[in-house]
Symmetry: C2
Subunit: 449 residues, 2 copies
Amino acid sequence: MNTGIPLKITETVLRDGHQSLAATRMRTSDMLPVLEQLDEIGYFSIEAWGGATFDSCLRFLNEDPWERLRTIKKYLKKTPIQMLLRGQNVLGYNHYADDVVSEFVKRAVDNGVGVIRIFDALNDVRNLEASMRAAKESGAHVQGAFVYTISPYHNNDSFLKVAKDLVSLGSDSICIKDMAGLLAPYKAYELVKTLKAEINIPIHLHTHYTSGMASMTYLKAVEAGVDIIDTALSPFAMASSQPATEAMIAALEGTERDSGLSKEKLFPIADHFRTIKKQLTETFNLNTNIEIDTKVLSFQIPGGMLSNLLNQMKEQGMADKFPDLIEEMPKVRAELGYPPLVTPTSQIVGSMSAFNVMLGRYKVVPREIKDLARGKYGRTPAPIDPEFLKTLIGDDEIITHRPADDIKPQMPALRQELAEKGYPNASTEDVLSYAVFPEVALKFFESNR
Amino acid sequence: MNTGIPLKITETVLRDGHQSLAATRMRTSDMLPVLEQLDEIGYFSIEAWGGATFDSCLRFLNEDPWERLRTIKKYLKKTPIQMLLRGQNVLGYNHYADDVVSEFVKRAVDNGVGVIRIFDALNDVRNLEASMRAAKESGAHVQGAFVYTISPYHNNDSFLKVAKDLVSLGSDSICIKDMAGLLAPYKAYELVKTLKAEINIPIHLHTHYTSGMASMTYLKAVEAGVDIIDTALSPFAMASSQPATEAMIAALEGTERDSGLSKEKLFPIADHFRTIKKQLTETFNLNTNIEIDTKVLSFQIPGGMLSNLLNQMKEQGMADKFPDLIEEMPKVRAELGYPPLVTPTSQIVGSMSAFNVMLGRYKVVPREIKDLARGKYGRTPAPIDPEFLKTLIGDDEIITHRPADDIKPQMPALRQELAEKGYPNASTEDVLSYAVFPEVALKFFESNR
Ligand SMILES: [Co+2]
Ligand SMILES: [Co+2]
């Protein structure tokens, strides 16, 4: 407790909470009845857009994500709306041209986003440049995020270096993004201390309860002086989501870092979301029985993925080789330069390891592995051994420049395509929806435009 | 982290874990396959008996609880079996004669219990005397426990006083029993510091995740030097149970209080219990969707009970008086001398408050309230105003002595009764089963003796 400054809180119930526990199925109409109450709580921000919500709106809910944003903005008059952006990937898993990235960010801010958290799965800050620049120009609060992971190449100093790069790019705050719930409490303490010692803008911590440690991690981060944490109202908290907002408020009441927020004001809002969760579970036949997964701490791979791999090996009559797979995964990750194991890299490393065990090492190399190795997604955290790289990619081009430099502007062609498909007067927002999720967007337009 | 001593852990999956999350329905056969593995972990103890398991064995599972104990003991060769005992209430909610209490404890130890945690719902240590004496004589590790609660009459000094009384009665260790999950992290830190400063035997902390704070509470207690914590393997952890064993081990790895236990060794055992939980849920049609309940932090009454009370008031067409009820409850609790709100006192205070709001204050006074007020369960934490007491109990006797002093020996009569019912050669264990759950035990005997 070395600062006397109240802890700030970002509420995630409208984005990561239901993305983690209800397959991103919360509808705008589920949010409306309590938006004004949420606006009165005094949150630093309310995360309500980006991540998987954009895709889910179009694909499953027959909602225009841009319309959702504008609607939420109407009710959240005081509290900034926060969104999550995958840097050059915008909201998908491929790199887009700078003009798409830039336009997307500007439209997001114009339609109501106040805080943009931007990250890259490899922590290659070049993949954040275009989006951060656009966000700055739009006047949003720009939060540069780095992904937390564990490897011999990741430590407090390496994270500090990335954080400083993010400051140089104009971050208004820095986010430690621990999407896998790997950050242990005392490691969080040291990391936050390291960052706070050298960085003058606020530090924001995002973690998941996946491994069961999240609230402890927040507590030690708060003691180390972290400025903001992400929490979700209790019905959409814990398990694979964030710690509960009410519990974190209560734990710090009366301490130096008391958030000053009223948990009592949250009770009726939480009651609302408890009902919503029940409804979503029934309507969309969701699995509500999500448990913590402590194996992630040993393997960095979610337990669910491990069972899937085991099943695949069983089908091949090779279940006895599963222990080899467990040993193979960290080797493969090391050889590929220690990418953080998040979607989609965890799947990529997992299947590569399974192939290696079943067919012989690197006898079959999927396209994604080659692209990752040759720098198509950006720089891997550790360099890849040149000779190993050669055996992996053969004569494929090695990319050392910013990957998006290879991508020509896409907006004019996208507009053209949409015109040809019958939407000559598509709004820029619709063009952007089409840019990131073409098929899904077209299907949405068919019944809504 | 002011001690360099490894944290010790008590595993609760075989008792409180399934009592909290699976209606105490785990069967002995569900435990057997992993008992030997559990014995190898290095736990301080494994809680596996007492609490609601005794009743559940006889009532729902057609199992002899004594037989379960002997079976478990066969496999747990190194790790002490721990049980939970409600002092003079043994395993029920009424006081028994000293001879029943004493015999029950002795038989429990003889059949395999190594550590006995003994508590009284009012923290009246006179209700622990008989059981603690018997436990000492039997050679068990005797853990005197006090119930944590929040009131103007409960503070670190009052808890220290109870703890010292428990030491005088021969405790080998002291347990802070936070059954409602009310103990906040920094309060736990101060409480443990207070106890550790003046008490030389180990301090054991038991809490529940009910309010979402439990793992944070453990973390701060560990920093304050707590010796032992209660955790449950992840499938039976969190929500209304304890923090996950694997997560607590992981959180402390590499710190001064590293438990030294291997979470990797726990993964296959947890996998087993994940399957068991699924089976129990299906077989007994259990509600698996147990969430944390943050309202308990404001009202000390579980949210589920609040909804029940609200429904009762709705049925009476008095739902509009629910806010009055919320204000009435702390008043009633204060007037009754601030009993800790645990089963059954929470229900007693809840219904008294509902009566007060609906019918006028203390117009109708249930028997349980009169008994509580006149000292039939023991001394209330705060004295009750004599004039108020008079209006409440009229000319009923006030009990200031140890309540069990009024109860004559019961064992001979119980034996006699059983003989008359057709069991003249009943074992002492069977007599004790009959003593605490007469109808249920008789029904069990019918089909098993
Ligand atoms: Co997240
Ligand atoms: Co308990």
